[in-house]
Symmetry: C2
Subunit: 443 residues, 2 copies
C-alpha cells in the first residue's frame, strides 16, 4: 500500500491523498537554493544540533579566501596538524613490495581480518605496550584515530554521559552530538547541556580539578594533548584512573601524539596500574609515521574492561568492527609493520625529533613577543596565550599580518578562548620563515 | 565531587557511599569468565539487540572447526565473497609509484580531502555515471561499501523507519539495530519489529510486491543482489523509484556488483529518471577490482536529495564524512584512479569475466543435481534452492560431504531459508574441483 504523509516540516505536500504519486514541493531551507523535491524523510535531529562546520574544513575555507585575497602572498600553513616530511624508504619499500605482490597469484590477498593482521597487532602490543600486559587480541587496527572515535561513540550509544577536556579535539564532542548524547547547545556558553567540560589551562597545570568534576560514564582524555601540547604526568594520570574507578567511569584515552613525549610522562594510560579495568586507548600512525594520508591507527580495548552488567566491552567493540568496518587497507598495514621494525622505528624517531625542533623554534618566536607559549615539549603543538583577546581575532590578525594559518583556540571549546594553536609540522625553512614573520607581528 | 551509583544491573557495588573509591565487583555475565571489576557504564541496549555474531565471522569460525576436524581435507571456500585473482599490473604499479613518491620531499602528501581526491571523484562520475548527470562533488570516496552503510545509518539516525529486501546483505539490518532503529527481535520470525522485510524470491521474480509494502523512510535495495545474484530490470527499478517518490522515501541503492551485469539491467539507480531526488548509491572497487583488502569504495549523494524540511542530505553527509572519517588511504585512491584508466578498466573486465565463468560452472553443477540455481548471470553469486530444508542443515551437509564452504541463506534473513549462497570468486581449478565434488553430493 502507498502512504501519504502530512509533514509538519516546511516541505508542503502538493496533494494529500491516499493515492500513489503524491509529490512534495520544498520551500527554501534558509538560504539554500531549491534543487529538488523534498522526500518525506526527517532530518536527523542530532545532525541539526551540530554547530556550523567541522573545525578543520572551516579553517581550510578561510585559507582559500585568504589566498584569493592575496594571491602573491607565500602562505605558511601551521593550522591543521598535517605531516610534511617524507616517509623513510624502508617503510615505503615494504608497502610497495606488498602492492606488487597483489599482482601475483602467490602474493594476492583479499579480505584481511576486520581487526587487522595479527602480526601487526602483536607488533603494536610489543612496541608500544611492552610489559604493560596488552595482548595482540586487545589491539584493533583501524584506518585512523578519528574513525575509531566515531566507532567508539557508536559502540557506547546515546544512553551514556560524557566528559571532555576543555579545550579538546573537536571530534569527541561532535561525534557525541551525532550519536545523540550531547543535549542542546547553548550559544552563550558554547557548550552542550549534557557534556561535562573539564577546564584545562595553566591555572590547573592543564589537568582538570577532579574534586569538582561531575561523574560521567565516559571520560575522553587526550595526552599529550591536542591542542595544548601538554602531557599529563604519571601522578595526574593515576588520579584520573582512581577517579574513574571510584565512579565506575570509562576513560577513552587518546595517545595519538605519544611518540612526541620527551620527558618521563606516560606514553600510554596502561602504564598506570589498574587502567586496564577502566580505559580504552586510541592511537595512530598518522603523526608518528607521517601516515596522515596512508591511514592507519589502532584502539586497545582490554579484556578486563566490563560494562556494569559484566559484559566485556571488547566483545561489543569486536562486533562493531566486524559490522561497521572491514579492516584497514592491507597496504597501510604492511607499512605499519615496517614502521615497527628496528630500522623503521629508528628512522621515524629522527622525523619526530625534526618536528619537535620546529616546535621549539615556534615557542621561541612567541616567547620573544612576550607571549606565553605552552606545549612544544611533549607534542608538536604550541598553545599561545593572548590574554583578553578573541581567538578568531588573533587568528585573523596573524593571517592578515604574516600570512600564517593557525587555529583559533575557541575551535577546541570555550576553554580555548584567548589562545591559538600553532602546529610544528612543516619543512624547517618554512618554520624559520614563519618564526621571522611572527617576531615582527607587532612591529 | 565523586558520585557513587547504585546500578540495577548484575554488577553490585561493594560499598555504597558518597566517598571516593567505591568499587564494583561483577557477577558472571552468562558464561563469561570474570576478568575484571565492572565499570558503572551501561551496555548500549542497541548492541544487546544484535543477534549472535555477524554472519561472516561466524562462517569463518565454522570453517576453522571443520579444518580442525578434517585436517587433511582440501577445503574449498565458496562462502565469503572474497576475490582471489591478482590485480592487473597497471593498477599495482600506480599504487607503488604513489607509495615511492611518499618517500620524496616533492612527492610526499599528508591528509587528503575527506571526500576523496577530486580527480578520482571526477573519474568515478565519468566512468560509472556518464550522461546520468552525477557530478564529481556528489561522489564521496570511502574505504568501502560496508563502512559507508554504517556512515549512512549514523547520518539518518534512529528516528526513521527502514525496509530491506529479504534476503539481504546483513550489514543493512545490523547497522540499523546498532543505531537504534530496529525495535525488538522476534525469535520466532527472525525479524525485527520496526524493520519492513520485502520478500524477494522466484515467486515474485526477485522483486518485492510494492502494492503490499508499507511505507518506510529508508529503503535499502541491492542490485545486482547479494545474495540472490538477481539484477533488477529497468522496469522494476522504475517502479521502485516511483514508489519512493509517491511515499517520500529515500532509496539507499547498493551497486557493489554493478560491474558484473551482463544484460541490459541498469548498473546504477541513476539510470532511472527522477532517481536523483530519491536515491543515494553506494558502490565499491572491492569486487570489481579485487580491492577487498586494499579498501576503496564510494557513495553518491545527489544535490537534489532533500530531507522533508528541504535541507540537502549531501550537506549532512559531508559533515559525517568530515567528522567521523578522514578519507580513504591515498594509496588505495591512486590505485582506484588507475582502475578507471582505459587500460586498467579493460584489464579488470577480463577478471570480471573470469569470475562469471566460475559462476556458470557452479550453476551447471547444481542444475545437474536437479536443483534450481538462481543468479550467476549478473552477479558472481549462485543462489541454490533446497526446498523444505533448513539452510544451516544444507550448509553442514555440503561442508561434511564435499569440504566446500557456502553460506546458509538464513544468514541473509528469513527469506533466505531453504537456500545457500555459493560464491563464484575463486581460482578456476578450485571451482572445477568444487563442481566435481558437488555433482557427487547425493551419490
Amino acid at each position: 500500500m502507498y502512504y501519504s504523509l502530512l509533514s509538519s516540516s516546511i516541505c508542503i505536500p502538493l496533494a494529500v491523498s491516499l493515492q500513489p504519486k503524491t509529490t512534495w514541493t520544498s520551500t527554501k531551507f534558509n538560504n539554500e537554493k531549491k534543487v529538488g523535491s523534498c522526500t518525506g524523510v526527517p532530518r536527523n535531529f542530532n545532525m541539526e544540533k551540530l554547530q556550523s562546520g567541522y573545525l578543520f574544513p572551516e579553517i581550510g575555507m578561510r585559507e582559500s579566501e585568504h589566498t584569493q585575497k592575496y594571491p602573491h602572498a607565500r602562505l605558511i600553513r601551521l593550522g591543521i596538524g598535517d605531516t610534511t616530511e617524507p616517509i623513510p624508504d624502508i617503510i615505503t619499500s615494504a608497502m610497495a613490495e606488498h602492492v606488487y605482490a597483489l599482482s601475483t597469484v602467490k602474493g594476492y590477498r583479499g579480505y584481511g581480518a576486520e581487526q587487522g593482521n595479527m602480526e601487526l597487532r602483536m607488533a603494536i602490543a610489543e612496541t608500544f605496550y611492552r610489559d604493560l600486559g596488552v595482548k595482540g587480541n586487545e589491539v584493533f587496527v583501524s584506518d585512523g584515530a578519528q574513525c575509531d572515535i566515531s566507532r567508539l561513540q557508536l559502540l557506547l550509544g546515546s544512553n551514556v554521559s560524557m566528559a571532555v577536556q576543555d579545550p579538546s579535539f573537536p571530534a569527541y564532542i561532535d561525534c557525541g552530538v551525532i550519536v545523540g548524547r550531547a543535549g542542546n547547545y547553548q550559544e552563550k556558553t558554547g557548550t552542550y547541556d549534557n557534556i561535562v567540560y573539564m577546564k584545562c589551562g595553566p591555572e590547573n597545570n592543564f589537568f582538570p580539578d577532579l574534586s569538582t568534576t561531575s561523574r560521567t560514564d565516559i571520560i575522553f582524555f587526550c595526552s599529550p594533548n591536542n591542542p595544548t601540547g601538554y602531557a599529563a604526568s604519571r601522578q595526574q594520570l593515576q588520579q584520573l584512573v582512581d577517579f574513574a574507578k571510584a565512579n565506575g567511569s570509562m576513560i577513552i584515552y587518546d595517545s595519538a601524539y605519544a611518540a612526541y613525549v620527551t620527558d618521563d610522562s606516560p606514553r600510554s594510560i596502561f602504564e598506570i596500574p589498574g587502567a586496564k579495568e577502566v580505559a580504552i586507548e586510541i592511537s595512530s600512525f598518522s603523526k608518528f609515521a607521517g601516515f596522515t594520508g596512508v591511514r592507519l591507527g589502532w584502539t586497545v580495548v582490554p579484556e578486563e574492561l566490563l560494562y556494569s552488567n559484566g559484559f566485556p566491552v571488547m566483545k561489543d567493540y569486536n562486533r562493531i568492527v566486524c559490522t561497521c568496518f572491514n579492516g584497514a587497507s592491507s597496504v597501510a598495514q604492511a607499512g605499519g609493520l615496517a614502521c615497527l621494525s628496528k630500522e623503521g622505528y629508528r628512522a621515524l624517531t629522527t622525523v619526530v625529533d625534526y618536528y619537535m625542533g620546529n616546535a621549539e623554534i615556534l615557542v621561541d618566536a612567541f616567547s620573544s613577543l612576550g607571549l606565553k607559549a605552552y606545549g612544544g615539549k611533549n607534542a608538536p603543538y604550541v598553545w599561545v596565550h593572548f590574554p583578553g583577546k578573541s581567538s578568531w581575532d588573533v587568528f585573523n590578525e596573524i593571517l592578515e599580518k604574516t600570512h600564517i594559518v593557525t587555529i583559533p583556540g575557541i575551535g577546541f571549546g570555550p576553554g580555548g578562548e584567548g589562545y591559538v594553536r600553532v602546529s610544528g609540522f612543516g619543512h624547517r625553512e618554512r618554520i624559520l620563515e614563519a618564526s621571522m614573520r611572527l617576531k615582527n607581528l607587532y612591529k
